[in-house]
Amino acid sequence: MSALLEVKDLSVSFETRGGVVRAVDGLSFSLGAGESLGIVGESGSGKTVSSLSILRLFGLFDDVSVSGKILFEGRDLLRVSEAELSRIRGGKIGMVFQDPLTSLNPVMPVGEQVAESIRFHTGASRPQAHRRAVEMLDRVGIPDANKRCEELPHSFSGGMRQRVMVAIALACEPKLLIADEPTTALDVTVQAQVLLLLDELRREMGIALIMITHDFGVVAATADRVLVMYAAQPMEHCSIHHLFQRANHPYTEGLLRLVPRFEHQVHGRLHPIEGQPPALTEEIVGCPFAPRCSFTLDRCKQERPPLFRIGPDHESACWLAAERAERETLPDKPWKAV
């Protein structure tokens, strides 16, 4: 089965005043049609850059070096022409960003903004596109879509604006939707609604999803698989159930301990991961998490661990996992029983 999107050994670095920043370092994953992948990491982990690389959006940076391959439906997006790429952006690949206010044109009625994208990508006529826009706005849960499509973005609440963004992203029936922290700026109850909406529409329309977030809760609600990133490198890659039941990488475990769990008593202490993530301008030798890890081996400080395959649907970049990866071949180990 050929994957919809295949990212192979992607590395991205920027040249800044402070030196060369490695934003993504050796990332590989693949995504089948209709599948959803959550990319989780803290700020500076490279999760956003890796998703923007898929669309070659490097807006703010002058000197970017990219290597690797990003195969979308078999074509390398790093090599297609700009014209072709602009048909793919918003057409076959939709995007939803964190801040719905700055992503919308403040002086254009929202209906028109949805319709514009439809006309550009499908060549529909003005009235056709308008009808489709209203239909999409209705579908994302904007009440009175027929009337409200004439209004400007500022008269919408944050949640409604993000719904409009979802409508724009899905209007052309893309194959892949990239959502970059789509609910971080929203209130908790509204966040829940938007996540649910994204998940439902995606399933209905058979769209693959890359959900970029810092929050395992968001992943739990929307993703089938998870890729955990730290300091520009992939740490763990597994299905959502592996994640909650037998997370392998110490970093993943550390993060999971911080997700609210109600088994803890009310005033329970949290168990933070001590220390700071490394600066991306530093040369990292060995495992980037080693300085904060409580299981550090000598090897961790010297050699970067590759992503070990430790079970079906489960990879982990940890030297501790290496041992388990060998044992995995033995029968009757618990992680075989999926």
Binding site: L57, F58, G59, F61, D62, D63, V64, S65, S67, G68
Partner: protein
């Protein structure tokens, strides 16, 4: 959303050549202008070191020697004027008053403008409206003409000039500082200062002012240039500095009747004035970059 086309496996997106050229003067050549300004400052402080002749010594026999020529007393790199005074020595001598008037007047203007702008921006409301209307009224009036009027009424003198010139620039400082203060006022650290119990004077002096200083510095440098030009204009019109004091503006004015026979008398001080103002502008851009990088 702006983006840059990127091809894989090679470095991309170096800035276009045009932008590089534009930035070259400020990025690479700025120190030349800084050096020039230091030289001007040195002229102003130690004219005796640089001037080959006494700027008040006149010898009609040496009239109108063109630049590079020589008299029995020696060479005249910038020529001599209609009275046989060495022009270069006059330019060196003129630097003192020219710079002094410009700096002092701009300082005064900045002091008024910063105070007004900060009060207007921080308190808003009636204070703001009154102070800013005052500034606007002044901007709407042809201040240069008012300055001419005042100077002709009060009689031209350096002191009066230093009092009149700041009125030209304070509204500019006030507007910039007010805008900046409005923005800083929104910052959480101002709220934090108030919540801590800082009296308003402390908030303004310790928290608002240090954060507007970078902008004031940039503006200050530019405005010195403007004030310098204004002074030259007034002196040119005869209501500014009076002989035997010398400023560059006055030199230009004195050379004007002889423009057809002795071009250097107007052109050389003019060039000096222009290059000084240009240097100030370029240096202010440089400051601005630093201020931007620090913030």
């Amino acid at each position: 959303m702006p983006y840059r086309v990127v091809a894989s496996e090679r470095r991309v997106g170096s800035p276009p050549i045009r932008r590089r050229l534009q930035g070259l003067l400020e990025k690479r050549g700025w120190w030349l202008f800084a050096l020039f300004l230091s030289l001007m400052a040195a002229w102003a402080i130690f004219p005796g070191v640089f001037a080959p002749y006494d700027a008040n010594y006149l010898n009609p026999r040496n009239r109108l020697i063109s630049p590079g020529g020589a008299s029995p007393e020696g060479s005249h790199i910038a020529g001599t004027d209609g009275l046989g005074v060495d022009l270069f020595s006059q330019m060196v001598e003129g630097a003192r008053l020219t710079l002094m008037i410009a700096v002092v007047a701009t300082l005064l203007g900045a002091a008024i403008g910063v105070t007004v702008g900060m009060l207007a921006g921080y308190f808003g409301g009636v204070v703001d409206r009154m102070l800013m209307r005052l500034g606007e009224a002044q901007t709407a009036m042809p201040m240069f003409l008012v300055a001419i009027l005042l100077l002709s009424l009060l009689g031209p003198s350096v002191t009066i000039l230093i009092i009149v010139l700041p009125t030209l620039v304070w509204p500019i400082f006030a507007r910039v500082v007010r805008a900046e203060t409005l923005q800083i006022k929104q910052a959480t650290y101002i709220e934090a200062a108030v919540a801590t119990g800082c009296p308003t004077s402390v908030v303004l002096y310790r928290h608002v002012l240090p954060n507007v200083v970078p902008r004031i510095l940039v503006l200050f440098v530019v405005e010195i240039g403007h004030v310098m030009l204004a002074e030259a204009g007034l002196s040119f019109l005869g209501v500014g500095v009076q002989p035997p004091d010398i400023t560059w503006g006055l030199l230009i004015a004195e050379g004007r009747p002889l423009l057809t026979v002795a071009w250097w008398l107007t052109i050389l001080p003019g060039v000096l004035l222009s290059v000084t103002v240009l240097s100030l502008n370029i240096l202010s851009r440089r400051f601005e970059q630093y201020a931007g990088a620090a913030a």
